[in-house]
Symmetry: C2
């Protein structure tokens, strides 16, 4: 399956940490597919080195920014304009099919079966469930599609200022056309869903395959005590309700990623 790949994106060193853990989690679960990281020019050289250790391909792309502060303000996420950069994934035409995964996702199991699905397959967004969440999706690289997507961004912008708005407008029949394009929610389990319907999480959460640390507070924003194996963060933050996923992230980060980073960053802080 050399012509199929998991793809992620990191425009800076913080999201690169996420990409490193994600890549490692896919390897741990013995994926048979290639791993590709798209990076922006601000990712520093040592971070690129580490990414190259984990990913088969690390590709530099230019940063696309919606610049749409008005819509982004509605979500209180002024930082998400750069997620337009994600659209570059359609240019990976040396692959026939790919699965995009946000850098803030973590594979809890082998998820190679996602490649059985067609473009555009994705899981529902818990905020507005007739939209798909663009943190995990199956797509077919194509310069034609890429061109159309960029054209749409230029002409219509994005209703949320980020990639999810554009992608939902473009693949606008996702909600109504084909159930096979609805990935089960356990392939993109947003941490937010855990506390918004706790009984459902207790019922179905055990089958989770990919967890998505959606929202402002990312795993790398917490601090970790390696000795006691505990994660500390803003105690107001609801994510404290899902400590086990966060611990799994930190487990990979501290045991595999951190040693690689120490090696490549040397005395530089990270």
């Amino acid at each position: 399956m050399a012509d199929q790949a998991f793809v992620t994106l990191a425009t800076n060193d913080n999201y690169s940490k996420g990409a490193m853990v994600l890549g490692k989690s896919l390897r741990n679960h013995k994926t048979s597919r290639k791993l590709v990281a798209l990076i922006g020019p601000h990712v520093t050289e040592p971070a690129r080195e580490v990414l190259r250790k984990i990913y088969d391909e690390v590709r530099l792309v230019d940063v696309l920014d919606s610049g749409d502060t008005a819509h982004l303000a509605l979500m209180k996420r002024p930082d998400l304009g750069v997620t337009f950069t994600k659209l570059h994934c359609w240019t990976l035409t040396h692959y026939s099919k790919c699965v995009f995964m946000d850098a803030d996702t973590l594979a809890l199991a082998n998820v190679d079966e996602l490649f059985d699905r067609e473009e555009l397959s994705a899981a529902p967004d818990p905020g507005w469930p007739d939209c798909f969440n663009s943190g995990v999706f199956v797509f077919r690289p194509s310069n034609e599609t890429y061109g159309k997507l960029i054209q749409r961004c230029t002409e219509n912008g994005s209703f949320d200022g980020g990639d999810q708005g554009v992608l939902n407008s473009f693949f606008s029949n996702w909600a109504t056309q084909d159930i096979a394009k609805h990935l089960p929610f356990i392939y993109n389990l947003s941490s937010i869903a855990i506390y918004s319907y706790l009984p459902a999480f207790k019922q179905y959460g055990g089958d989770a395959k990919v967890v998505h640390f959606l929202g402002k507070m990312k795993p790398w924003n917490y601090s970790y005590d390696a000795k006691s194996r505990t994660v500390k963060g803003d105690s107001q933050d609801q994510s404290t309700l899902h400590p086990s996923y966060l611990l799994q992230w930190w487990d990979i980060y501290s045991s595999v990623v951190l040693p690689l980073m120490k090696e490549h960053y040397g005395n530089q802080p990270f």
Copy 2:
């Protein structure tokens, strides 16, 4: 279409107010279907009188309670055990097809097209979007199905302590089997979705057909100033973000329902 009906449920006078407004909203939008209200024994006589003015059929059912305080506590909704009573709707076998609507829903348009759908059609729940929300669903009355549902309740209980848990376990392939059974989210627009993904609400909310005042705070818990046409409530409550739906509810309540109630309750408080 005399053999098709909208069905709701009220086990007490408060939810009856909701049922009255819902029934009126369906009539205002000129539904061609029958209207049925299932009521519990605690609904007082004057409330029954008012319901009879609005509904074609007001049917007394006994209250079924899950008694499952443990699961209900997970949702902080100890009151929802009685929603098992909803299952009685399957006994309405003098209708060939029905649409159940929670008493806390409001029709914003004619929604008779829902009868084109098959059992069990429902919209995704924003909390866990591979579950359907049981506030609006299409079903076929059947004593056989009713029997199986009750059996399931007795044997397995409900993963959330309420009707939604049982119904999702029973119609367990809803998420994966047939896209036609996924009602568009605008047929069960939970007020909670408005603030959880505001840009999507701004993009798609204008097409809303049914709003669902899901959660603890119901329209009848607010207070209304008829002169200034403003609604007052717990200012901490997020529902203050969707004042226009709340105003539409109160508009019907104060202009149509309240006069009927005054007539039938006389000097009794309500």
